[in-house]
Symmetry: D3
Subunit: 250 residues, 6 copies
């Protein structure tokens, strides 16, 4: 059940039986020679939509922009500053919790968002703990699930790619995005086959020096649409397990 | 050409021949008894994607959240504060202009965004005029086009609905969103047939008092998928005219 | 009745009979070869003071600085960033509404303020809709009236200047400011007689390139003190109509 | 020479011979039973205008709103938060210094502004010291002169009122504001004759408890229009001394 | 070598031979019945000071306040909001990097800081990647080392406490803080012996409900001053390894 | 009684008998050829710790960073922007007052903090006066005491150093910091013996031009550890007088 496709009366009815919602969040950033700029948004969106349809869980619109400052030297990247992303998440959470959503799960597709999301949740909770937030304040449980770190997904990536999975423009995320957008599949030779490894904690110019074609430690030429379908299944199963535990937590 | 489906190398190639980009921007807010919460994002997105495909113009990911504070008393609405939306737009513009995009057109689907978008552009230009912005600063032209105010769209809405078009949850936007999302069409009786008219300049509780089912002056039960297709054609034609003039402006 | 000239006891007495107040807002920016830097503040101030005296309406001190970033390449211009102006308006509104002013009308003299004012009002309302604003929150109605867009003023400008009225450093505003400040009248030859037309959506350097002497589409050498007096009368009549409707709105 | 009454060409000519400007800054706040809400703005404005006319110094528009949070429980008070006032001052300074004004003197009429003004100047300088400010950055000298602390003004107040001068709604400022606005003179009995003394470092409710009619330690019934004229002369002389030393400082 | 105890000339000399600096960062928050409110600051400070003395590395003053919103329902806790801590870190980094420190290692004592520190680093890098940061911008490498996650420290805690180490008010950090502040050792009975486990992602009231005496999963009555000395040694060794690798990284 | 060395239960017990707390605040900035970078933090910290021990007053962790932008051209200086320091103080105050501390005294060691501290207090009070602060809001009294301006300290400095005391890197603060950190005493020749006098209101480059070795008007070679002990005694006596009056104020 996608929020974008519902009427407000349908949301009102949903809230009578359920207090949870899933918000896909990604990034718009380069993903190497054969990965899509939208990879990090497309992957969690695909998993969330599939789960939402199967299990009747409400899925908010995807947050397409994330914290991608280190990729800005590659054209097509659009980054929010961490402070901006925190404001977006704060407003999203305040809007939803004010209407009775007490359990908000962000399904994240981008490692670079993790720190900022954690800070954003703390900013929201701090308003409550300092009693400067919404008055009165309802119950509020927030969590992040990184689809690419779920146990089934990890196991599948390990079995398919081993060391060639990498940490950015990974084979698994390229595969999943291709399954979600088969018309956008690109066949590109990689050189070197496995990209250099290293840290992304730097600014954009330095990042491009370290990782000239944008990949980090991966060989995404191993990806395939068929793999992508298996990642979708694994991701939906991982998410469903996490979501059910989350919404029944006290 | 959708940015989400491109690689960075494809964007780099695009920038060698063209400096313009279209960014759809909408809102996530109630649209009355038969309108979708995602209407304001779906409509400009549909027009931009169609134009992008026909004419090879790059289309950035849709900004799904807008300034919708007055709708927050209806469940499903997610609003950014104006200051948050300004930060999002500032970062989007700074990211793109730093890579060589000199002409950025925001295709807007929500009247409530207009003031904030204007303030956001001025904030970006003020950084330049005060010389505290990016150093060095490249050429930068910004514009907003509200698809629902284009001449062909206006004429079509007038001919189809006359006074029943209204100003929120309008018949035209419901029609276009249905064409874009036919599985989400809802048949709902409206009562009264034409919703009350009035001002949306107030807070959420007051708005819900003034407009009990969320519509403003409209009868969207007149909408149809077939109408939606015509609005798409009209919208693409209006946008193409505006875009061509914009990217060739000095 | 000017707030600056009242004691707090007089304001307290006023609030027992009336909940409305008028806040003139302008800008400090170049107005071409014969227009005063203070034109945009002087004009609404003159109208508000006259109306306040005739009809006993309270008039707050003039907000002399506005959003004028595009004029910064002309000496004498002082601009607030949109975010700064929003903070000023937010604090002004919060101060007044906390004391019982429920209807606040901003009488605006500068087109460049319009978007930012709209965003500022939405920011104030969003605090309320998200329940993070003043606790408890009283009734609050906000509106902007642009004196230069009132029907009587428009008609007068059309009849006196036709196409030579222009859009910045207009003949009408120069006339009104001269009537308000007769000692500051300047006789300057204009070349070309009617300034170029175009868009002000750009940064300061680009604006000065487009509009070398600061005027936009106007011939303010047509202005006269006598015209100014007629604009004052027209403006007061326009404002009085708008104000009465506003303060009696529910 | 008032900036509001000049054209940009006149300002350009001024900058060829002089780099200094005076910015009056006040507050909009209660001033007891016979003091005007605008006292703190009217006083420095009157002094600055008089000096500007006598000595040809450029005077910017008055900043009418200051930091007056402690007076908010008295109707008619409008306060900026310190952070807002800092943004206003930062933008004012950045606008002026970008055009070549290297010596900016703020003529202050409100003790409550002093800390915030000092913080605002430091914020501007910090941008420069951290090299995140305007690029390139020109020379910039900032200073505050509190007219009510000038030696001639202090001496006159002491001789006229002694202990009854007080620290808010003082006899001297009431006198000066009356001279500047003779039509607004009010004759009101004070009870007690001299108001209680104490600290204003508290919130608005507490302030009103401490100082029930708004005065702090003063008996402004001693004020007269004739005294006001003498304060104007003293203030102009004090300011002229300070201004000349300031603009010739290295 | 402690920065607080150096003169600027000594720092200048240091910068001629070394570009690295260590900044201890902690928190001021409850640490259960026998743990000190300052534990999270005292521990990294003790390790950094010891290493600084042994190896001649410069150590900045300790950042005593961190992100501790979830502990605010226990008296004595002082928390910064994440946005505030980000501003503090941004200014610290900008100050140091402007003087030639190119490698800044934050030695962290509080798990709750990790997300915010990551966001703060990204905010600093984003200013550079968007070219709105210091002009010109020198080389800048930032890293965090959490002393409690170093391999030697982990191994020691596992061998001494096993499952009773816990995740807040841990036995290891209590031991180290006691060694650093032997006069503050407290002998308190714990009930239950091992505190409940769970998540700290919630607001302050909820946290106190979940963890009534403040501990999370720990039995800090196992701690001793003698253990503390061993943790200091382990921590210094872990840090020295990390620091040397960091400052020689390209 | 140092907060860092207490448990939360000890703080809870303290709050049953006392509502006051002392927060030392300093700066990290150059202090001339023989003064320590940490002087401004070390001095108030030493006085507060001594008083806390003698009289059982709770002392919060020292705020080591202050507003030191003008010293940034000397290596080792770390400055917060005023806006950052205001956020730190706001969060500190909000944290403590939410737990029942109603009287918070900041013991300040740095003249450059004074304006910003005043602005920070006003920002906190403004949230209350505008009713956007903590709900409900408890009693809150805030004050600053500058140890170097206490009567006993002033008298001692005058008697020991006369005109050679100066205004930055003063003989008295160097003496006190040496007594607190005897291992860090430096013997350095000063040239000229007494440093130039002048204003610190400028940016960092200009400050270094005006004051080449960092001192302002002082000869700190007169300082001694023995003097430092006397300043400590004087400072404790001054503070105790001020603190007792403060916590018993209504």
């Amino acid at each position: 059940m996608r929020l974008q496709h519902a009427t407000w009366q349908e949301v009102e009815a949903y809230l009578e039986r359920e207090k949870g919602i899933i918000v896909p969040i990604g990034s718009t950033e380069q993903h190497g020679p054969n990965g899509l700029v939208g990879t990090d948004a497309i992957c969690p969106e695909a998993i969330a939509w599939e789960l939402g349809e199967r299990h009747g869980v409400l899925v908010a619109p995807t947050q397409n922009l994330g914290m991608a400052q280190h990729h800005l030297a590659f054209p097509g990247t659009i980054s929010l500053r961490p402070s901006t992303l925190m404001a977006v998440l704060r407003d999203t959470i305040t809007s939803l919790s004010g209407q009775g959503f007490s359990h908000i799960l962000f399904l994240n597709g981008h490692g670079g968002n993790i720190g900022t999301m954690s800070a954003a949740f703390a900013e929201v909770y701090a308003e409550r703990s300092m009693r400067t937030g919404p008055q009165p304040a309802g119950e509020l449980q927030l969590t992040t699930f990184n689809w690419f770190l779920g146990p089934r997904v990890r196991e599948l990536a390990e079995s398919l790619y081993g060391d060639a999975e990498g940490t950015h423009a990974t084979a698994s995320e390229v595969a999943l995005s291709w399954f979600a957008r088969p018309a956008a599949v690109k066949q590109v030779d990689m050189s070197p086959r496995i990209a250099p490894r290293g840290s992304a904690q730097c600014d954009a110019e330095e990042f491009r020096r370290r990782f000239p074609d944008g990949r980090m430690g991966s060989d995404p030429s191993l990806a395939s649409v068929e793999h992508g379908e298996r990642f979708l299944e694994a991701g939906v199963a991982d998410l469903w397990e996490v979501y059910r535990a989350f919404v029944t937590s006290p």
